[in-house]
Symmetry: C2
Subunit: 160 residues, 2 copies
């Protein structure tokens, strides 16, 4: 059972561009810490998404290309850091003080999750690339595309 | 009082390379959310520091230059995202469900905190630069320097 789980975890990890070494290291983290760190990553990405949204979508904050680029850099850095390693055994349910909204289906469909994760990574890379141009229309389009990749995973695999 | 606080917040924000626009935007976040997001950022940095430590200090995980660079990229992206904006009014104490270990002294010494924050940002940039070389000795040195900048702030401004 554990071997089957390890295989599917490896499929996810490889899909997300990780090597077996990182998977092994992640497995030495407690389930509680894995949930804590993955929630932290998504949370910090959401803060930075909010900053970009305020500047290029809502217009509630004046557009500052350097701030938008810094926010996009944080998002891309987090997205590409190998978060697949934080969905190890035991993280499919609350652990210690950490609650998770990940649905059980996520852990039964790692290849699909890896595809969705890779879509997010590519969209985050593209947002950073467009942010560097300073062109608000391009940033707006890239931001919308990234938001769609977030939503695609949330709709399938995150509890409401 | 609020104006004085805003001035010191601006001093911090400017020291951290932020503009008044971002400060204004941060102030529209609740104290609870500011604490949540800053803790998320530091937490996600610590996960990535742990990965680099395992590979270049402890040797408990095989050295993988691409993984180390990805981790360094996440750290630098978070460090440079303008976290000074997450230390606004009301975040000097627990708020809602969020607890903070930031000591009151942090909020009374923003210029010093900004200096320490800038030191961290430069060290994070240097770690990324060295990670790109793939030279373990250089990465090890840069990692140690970054760790010192973390510790310098924790020793002064974080409760034990």
């Amino acid at each position: 059972m554990k071997t089957a789980f390890s295989r599917t975890l490896c499929a996810l990890a490889l899909g997300a561009g990780l090597s077996a070494g990182l998977v092994a290291q992640a497995q030495s983290l407690s389930a509680e810490d894995q949930i804590k760190f993955r929630k932290a990553g998504y949370s910090f990405m959401s803060w930075n998404m909010g900053k970009i949204k305020a500047q290029v979508i809502d217009g509630s904050v004046a557009f500052d290309p350097a701030q938008v680029e810094a926010a996009a850099q944080a998002i891309a850095g987090i997205a590409n850091s190998g978060m697949g390693a934080l969905f190890g055994p035991g993280t499919d349910q609350d652990a210690g003080e950490q609650r998770t909204r990940a649905r059980p289906e996520l852990f039964q469909n790692f290849p699909d999750v890896a595809t969705l994760g890779n879509n997010m990574n590519r969209a985050a890379d593209n947002l950073l690339e467009q942010a560097k141009t300073g062109d608000q229309a391009k940033i707006r389009a890239a931001f919308g595309e990234l938001g769609q990749t977030c939503k695609a995973c949330h709709d399938k695999y995150r509890a409401r």
